[in-house]
Symmetry: C2
Subunit: 371 residues, 2 copies
Amino acid sequence: MGRFHVDYYVRAVDEAEARARALDIALEQTVEIPRNVVPSGYVEDEILGRLEALVADTQGRPGFIATISYSDDDVGDDFLQFLNIVFGNSSIKPGLKVEDIGLSPAMLSLCPGPRHGIEGLRARAGIGRKPLLMSAIKPVGLPVSELARRAHDFALGGMHYVKDDHGLVDQHTSPFAERLAACVNAVGEANAKSGGKASFVPNITASASEMIERALMAEEAGAGAVMIAPALTGYDAARSLAAHPDFSLPIVSHPAFSGANVVSPECGFSHRVYFGLLQRLMGVDAVVYPNFGGRFGFTRDECRSIANACAADLGGPKTIVPAPGGGMTFARIPEMREAYGADVMYLVGGALLQEDDLVSACRRLVEAVNG
Amino acid sequence: MGRFHVDYYVRAVDEAEARARALDIALEQTVEIPRNVVPSGYVEDEILGRLEALVADTQGRPGFIATISYSDDDVGDDFLQFLNIVFGNSSIKPGLKVEDIGLSPAMLSLCPGPRHGIEGLRARAGIGRKPLLMSAIKPVGLPVSELARRAHDFALGGMHYVKDDHGLVDQHTSPFAERLAACVNAVGEANAKSGGKASFVPNITASASEMIERALMAEEAGAGAVMIAPALTGYDAARSLAAHPDFSLPIVSHPAFSGANVVSPECGFSHRVYFGLLQRLMGVDAVVYPNFGGRFGFTRDECRSIANACAADLGGPKTIVPAPGGGMTFARIPEMREAYGADVMYLVGGALLQEDDLVSACRRLVEAVNG
């Protein structure tokens, strides 16, 4: 059988300690019993993780990069088990971080990836190889009429996608079904005025059954995509949606509740794995994450690595669009253009709401991004 | 409307910085727009988070503990939105950690908690106020017959619950349905010999629809509980199961893939919130987590705080059983008895498999735990 590879950062004072820790990972992630009682034959030869390489860390951390291979057999065609093998129990050990994943043909066929990808999102928006623009209606607590008015103005101003804030669910001030209908309608009115093709993107993060129900309602109502927060819904939610026979919209991924997976340099995942590779394998078409220089702590290099992972040739899954957001202002557009080029979705919210005239603020943004 | 409270550790050099960061949390977790454009009236008065208290950290970290209150209205009776308010976007900011959560009556009624709790698990096992014992069949890669033999021996030796290893899903070497039937049967045979009431606990971690299907299969087949890994399935999975009209078994929670949420002192959640409070709110009956002194890095105090949170009076949700595991040996039983008392489920695997005779090893364990 084939094998896939995971590169782990392993904190260690020397190579001997790193090797011992790496061999522990190989054991922990597969058989989870002491080495001396691993059954010989198939379990030892095939299932047990194999330490394939061990090299000093090149990022200045006190440790090594261990490459461990795992059997496709161990995955059993189950995406959550793939994630469990990658970092199930070892996620709980201090000083271990998933730096990269090398897929096997079997893992690629387990993960068909997104249905639409960046090109599908552009086609829906009616644009060529230019940056996409997304904004969010908020805050929670406003009535449906005011949220719908904001959706209208964002669309009229030229935003391609207008999403719910990720905190909008089914609160009594703006129940899901009512908000969905009103916002699809408002965006449609704006499109009729502008000749544009803006889409409304409801947040459908909810329990599994509710999420599917809202996804189908969204498509039926004329939404252009849906949004979920995988760290809350579970990591199979986007896959289930992307594979659902009665659902065909693009999926936007929101980072809520995922922070601990990336925020520490010595635990969780590298930015490119968590916000790039894993999102593509999950089948999302656009991934929201905090932009560098905003109110979160991501660096420019980390954000660039995410964009690169969204665009890399994986030998199958479509490329997706990175959607950096969080504290974006007009003044920052030049450095973002420089960092991301055209393959990006600008997610701008607060900066637009601070302007007196939302429609003209959006238009200025569109110009600045494309100018 | 009522409000619930969250205590955050906030890294800061002084109180002024801590206050500014805390006010940012209050904004970020609710309205997520700049403070100067928060609409007055209901949004500002009710929805916007409120900084209720700010005191110096007492754990020696460079920072403060900020208590912020949130409106029950913002939750919209949605458990994932409750989690999103507690730590959605702020989870991505470095140097913030959820230390504690103070529930409101509305949050308690949103979270009925587990159906069985520790007393239900004891009743099923036919024991009084004594420690529970659980073991795991493994490793992945063994055929069903060998896994079932191990299940038989664990049960005959006196383990109350015999679970799947969390890496056992539906691999071709031991397909789920076949393994479930064989292990329930094997445990039943052991019970017939011993007069015991041991239960088999299959791992049903899978995509949402598959998980429900396997849960119903498990109950139908005569399993005594099921196990899921909430960090993979999503945080509403146990709740959905605990509320399912056709499902009534206890639920065991496994920590796979959750590590980043607790492993760093400056991000994620305190141990007691993540492995204690949140598990109870999710409706799990037993929570597996790494024991102190084993191959993971949890301290005795952290483990004690989890056990305390499992047992604390919440004014509603049943108390649950902490199930520390990972590297447990016979030699460590005295210190575990001292740390946990009777309200614990000992999860022992590898140490038993290293003994020549599994049944007598289990019996020695039972004696050591109760002696």
